[in-house]
Structures are given as structure tokens and as C-alpha cells.
């Protein structure tokens, strides 16, 4: 009502009204431009000054459901034979795997991919894909395979009964069954694994919750693993994803992976 009244009062001769409207439009545009410069400049300043780590979560504080943690892996920077991310994950989370072992736990591995038709080759790390629609969570009978509010998919090893149905369901071979006892020296408080349970990458949730980035991303000498909040349009990962095309492994399955790659074979 008030707006209507105001517009009625300001109704004048057509020419002067048009001139005023132009002036108002120019003013509006100027304001918008100023606001854009300010916000962009501020954003860039914040981006430049921001630490690489995610914001820390206080102990006991609930997870932020507005966040969705993800990772963009620049496969053009990833070289065959480089296992720095894998080694860092092993050290951080306490697993060891003989190459080619069929029973050892592996949270992350480097996959070499070759196009047999063209000979094109690529090497890329594959870990749990932290899907928005994770088949492992769907099939788990007890709910031990679960998705955190911030999108991290992990296994609650206290309620995992070791049925391995999640391993049957995961399209990415991201899960391992703990086939034997874990030696004392490899046990980690933050990455509990138990014989008879299924285990998998949890995006270093303990690090993320304390404002750090996953060990693999930190260790990558090429800076090829960009970790961040996919839901925050101002995060570095979101900005980068806006600029370049990115891909998901088996995007056709509709799992909506949190791990994106800049190029897939």
C-alpha cells in the first residue's frame, strides 16, 4: 500500500518522469557497481588472506549442515608413480598395504588409466568419493555406513557388523574389509579400524573438524588436491569449479560425488 501511494504521489509529466527514472537507474547502476567492486575486492582480499584450512569446529559443536566438503583433483598435475597422497594417508590413518594385496586395507590408491584406442594415459588418486547419494549408506542394514551433515561419508565401526554389503554396493571400490588384527603401532584414535569391520577414507574428519585439510591434500607436492566447501560459493574450490569443467567418476550413476576431477580419461 505504502509503495503504491508513493508511486502515485511521484507521478509527474511523462518527460520529467522519464528523466528522473534514468537518473535513478544510473544511480542504481553506480551503487551496484560499487557494491560489486567492494564485495569482489573484499572477497579476493579474504581469499588471499584466508588460511588453507577449513574453519575449525569447536568440540561438541554440531556439524554445519550448510557445508558440503569436497575436493577438486587437478589430474593434469598428477603424475604416474607419485604416491605422496597415498603415503600421507597411510601415515595419518595407520594403514599399510602391500601392492597388489587382496586383503590389506587401502583408503586411497593411485589408478593408472589408459585409453586402449588412443594410448592416452592418466594417473589419478581414487578414494571414497563422498557421494551425496551414497549407495553404501543406502544398503547398510544397521546404519553404520553414514553420511555426516557436512557430506562426509564414513563408517561407524561400533555398529558395523561386517556384512560387507556396502563393499558390494560401492561403485568406486573405495572400501576395505579389515581381514586381520591391526598392530598396536598402526592404531589411530581418530581412525578406528577393527578386525571384522569395513573401513574407508573419512576425508580426515578429525583434521577437517579442527580446521585443517585432509592429509592427502596437504601432502600433494603439486597442490593438485583442492579441498573445501562445495556449498560456499566463495570457497576456493567453488570458485575454481565455476571456472573450469570438472568431472565425477561414473557420473552416470547419479551418486553426485564430492570428489571432482579436472580431467578424466
Amino acid at each position: 500500500m505504502t509503495e503504491h501511494s508513493a508511486s502515485n504521489e511521484t507521478r509527474k509529466a511523462p518527460e520529467s518522469a522519464a528523466a528522473e527514472m534514468d537518473a535513478a537507474r544510473r544511480e542504481f547502476m553506480r551503487n551496484i557497481a560499487a557494491a560489486s567492486v567492494l564485495s569482489l575486492g573484499g572477497g579476493l582480499t579474504l581469499y588471499a588472506a584466508a588460511p588453507r584450512e577449513a574453519l575449525a569446529k569447536k568440540p561438541g559443536e554440531p556439524l554445519d549442515p550448510k557445508k558440503r566438503w569436497g575436493m577438486l583433483i587437478d589430474t593434469t598435475k598428477c603424475t604416474s608413480g607419485c604416491e605422496k597422497c597415498v603415503e600421507a594417508c597411510k601415515k595419518e590413518n595407520g594403514w599399510e598395504a602391500e601392492p597388489g594385496s587382496r586383503t590389506d586395507v587401502q583408503w586411497i590408491r593411485k589408478v593408472d588409466v589408459k585409453d586402449p584406442a588412443t594410448g592416452f594415459m592418466a594417473s589419478l588418486p581414487v578414494m571414497r568419493q563422498h557421494c551425496a547419494n551414497p549407495p553404501c549408506v543406502d544398503v547398510c542394514p544397521t546404519g553404520a555406513s553414514m553420511q555426516r551433515a557436512d557430506g562426509i561419508v564414513q563408517v561407524n565401526m561400533h555398529t558395523c557388523i561386517g556384512c560387507r554389503y556396502c563393499m558390494m554396493a560401492c561403485p568406486y571400490k573405495a572400501r576395505s574389509f579389515v581381514h586381520e588384527d591391526i598392530p598396536e603401532e598402526r592404531k589411530r584414535f581418530h581412525a578406528p579400524m577393527g578386525k571384522g569391520c569395513v573401513t574407508s577414507c573419512n576425508f580426515c574428519a578429525h583434521r577437517v573438524d579442527s580446521g585443517r585439510i585432509p592429509a592427502c591434500a596437504e601432502a600433494c607436492p603439486e597442490g593438485a588436491m583442492l579441498f573445501g566447501d562445495l556449498n560456499d560459493p566463495n570457497s576456493a574450490i567453488s570458485q575454481r569449479l565455476k571456472e573450469i569443467p570438472s568431472y565425477q567418476i561414473r557420473a552416470d550413476l547419479g551418486t553426485d560425488n564430492g570428489i571432482r576431477y579436472t580431467r578424466l580419461p
Binding site: R102, T103, V111, D112, P141, C160, K173, I249
Partner: protein
Amino acid sequence: MKKRTHYELLQSGAGYYTALIGMGLLIVAGLAATWYMEHYGHIVTGMSNEIVWGMPHVFAVFMIVAASGVLNVASIGTVFGKAPYKPLGRLSAVMAAAVLAGGLMILVLDLGRPDRLIVAMTKYNFKSIFAWNIYLYNGFFAVVLLYLYTQLSSKAGVRRFYKPAGTLAFVWRLILTTGTGSIFGWLVARQAYDLAIFAPMFIALSFSFGLAVFILLMVALMRGDDRAVGHELVARMGRLLGVFVASAAYFTIVWMLTDLYAAEHRSAVAYLFASGNIYSWLYWVGFIGLGTIAPLLLVFSNSARSSHAPVITAALLVILGGMALMYFIIIGGQSYPLVLFPGMEESSSFNDGMIASYAPSLPEILLGLGGVAVAVTITLVAAKTLHILPTTLADAEVDPHLAAEAEGAGLKKAA
């Protein structure tokens, strides 16, 4: 005129106790194998991160599928009103529950953490077909026991509910096998599964496995206790087995053709069905040759009307072929690598892109046999304590029409 069926407890012969002791030993061996596998972890089995379900699942899934099929015998009498099957209703219900119990025991003891069974019973993820199956299995026991109660009760008021209870059990078993088939059918990521046909295929397989198991155990129990079993009754069940066996094979062939048609699945299905590996042999020789064609020839042969041998042999072959098919589906299906990058060659320290190998270990087989022994033991004990076994299954006693048919067949043979 319709004759009343009389039921009698099993006699306590030496054979009975020998059978019980034999089964007891197998159960102990199965439990010892479980202890061994749980103590050292699954590292001592043939299973791996690629073949996550091994021989115990082959036994367990076969038995769970067969259990619902065993109940068909009762359903044919109760729901579809076929007189010759009516005296077998009680035995069918008990045996169905027994076979399911044996299968579930294997499944539970093969868990990484069987001690956490209580977690599985108290925490449910209702989106999981596995969790649904827990309800379906428990419900199956409840429904079958109710159905059995309506058959065993001396109260006319309870017996009145015999048909509704039988119908409920029949519907329940169809849903249950749909659930079991969907465990595989809903695995979107696996090239060899991911098809809706798994649910009806498992129902057809359950008809065939279940009837084969029932025929074998029924004839063994009856003849072991010197009770008559009519030739025409067994021949008729054999012919029905033939129909079931053919329909089960039909579904597997449609599965194969569907996957062959889709370029996406072609290499996986060619690997399974036509690459000359162990799995191709198990399917074509084990399931199709021994488990389908041979039983069909046997049950429709003329000698099946005058002797139990052809039908019993056919039932044994159906079980053998069924186990071969289960191995083919479960192990073979997992051995084909997950396709992360369609059309590409993959290699990694985690065996990406590689065919997974598997050799069943002794403990796994012992656990499977232990489950079979549990099923047989429950049936033996039930036959000794409940009135479930008819005093006679002679053709004339079961259904006068059968006797007439048998006589006709005899005359024809003589002529």
C-alpha cells in the same frame, strides 16, 4: 472318497540316532570353523576385498532361496487345493523354517562381527534391502509357525484359519524371495547384477531348489522310517520339478541375453557366460547340463513312474546345479572388476581392472555344511516330536486319483 491323513512320530531306530550324530558332528565342525575364522579374521578364508562374499554366501543364499521354495509344497495343497500335496503341508512348513534357520546361521556366522547380531536386530536402516530382509526372515518364521499351528491344532476354531494362514505364508514367501533377489538386482554398480530380473529369477529358482530339497528329505524320512511313498506321487512331484527347473533356466537365459544386448554389460556377461573360465563351466555344464537338462530328461522319463530313482537323482542334480549357479552368480559376479572408467584399461595397487581370483577355504565349506546340518537336524527333531510326517504316502492313501493314474501307467507299461 477323501481319506483322512494320519501322522506319526518318527521311530527311534539306530539310523535316526546315527543321522543325528552325523549332523551334530557337522554342526560342531561348522562352529569350530566359525571360531577359527573369527579368531584370526577373514584373512584365513579365500575371501578378499574383491570377493567379499565367498562360499558361506553360496550355501546361505542357496538355502534361503530353497527355504521359501520348500514351503511351496504346503502352498500347493493349501492355496491351490491340490489334494496329493495336502498331507505334506506340515512337513513342508517345518522344513521351510529349518532350511531358513540353517541358511541364516551361515549368514550370521560369516559376519565380520557375529557378536554384534544384537546391533542388526536393534538398529535398522529402512532404506536397506538387507534390513528389510531381516524383517522378512523373522516374519517368515512367525508366519510359518502360525501356519503350522493352524495345521497341528486340535481346536476346530484354530484349524479354520488354515487356509488364510497358508495364503499369508505363500504371499510372504514370494515377497521374501523378491527381497533376496533384490540384494543382487539392486546393486547398481556391479556389471553382472543391476537387473530387476533377479527378483523373479530368484523366485523361479526357489521353486526349483525348494522342491528338490523337499523331495529328497521327504523320501529319506519316509523310507528311513519304513513308510510307503507312492510312485505316482513322487513322479508327479518330479514332473512339477521339471516345470520349475525349466522356468528357472529360462530366467537365467533372459538375464544373459539382456546383458549381452547392452554394450555396457557385454564384456562382463561374455566373461561370465562365454569365456571358458570356471564360471562358464559352472553355468553351462553345472547348471544347464547337470542341473537343468539331465533332471528334465529324468523326471519326464517313463521309468520315473515306476521307480523313485529318476526323480531322486533329478532332485540331487537340481541341488548340485543350483549350488553351481549360486557360485556362478555370487563369486563369478564379484570376480569381474568394477568399471570406474568405462572403455579404459585400469591398473592400481588395489587390483583395479583385474579379474579377482577366489578359492574357497575349508573353514568356509565347513561353515556351509554346518548350516545344512542345522536344517536337517531341526527337521529330524521336529519329525520326532511333532506329528508332521504322514504314516503313509501310498498313492491310494494320498489321493485315489493318483492310484488310478499309477495303475493306468502300469497297464500301459505292461501293454
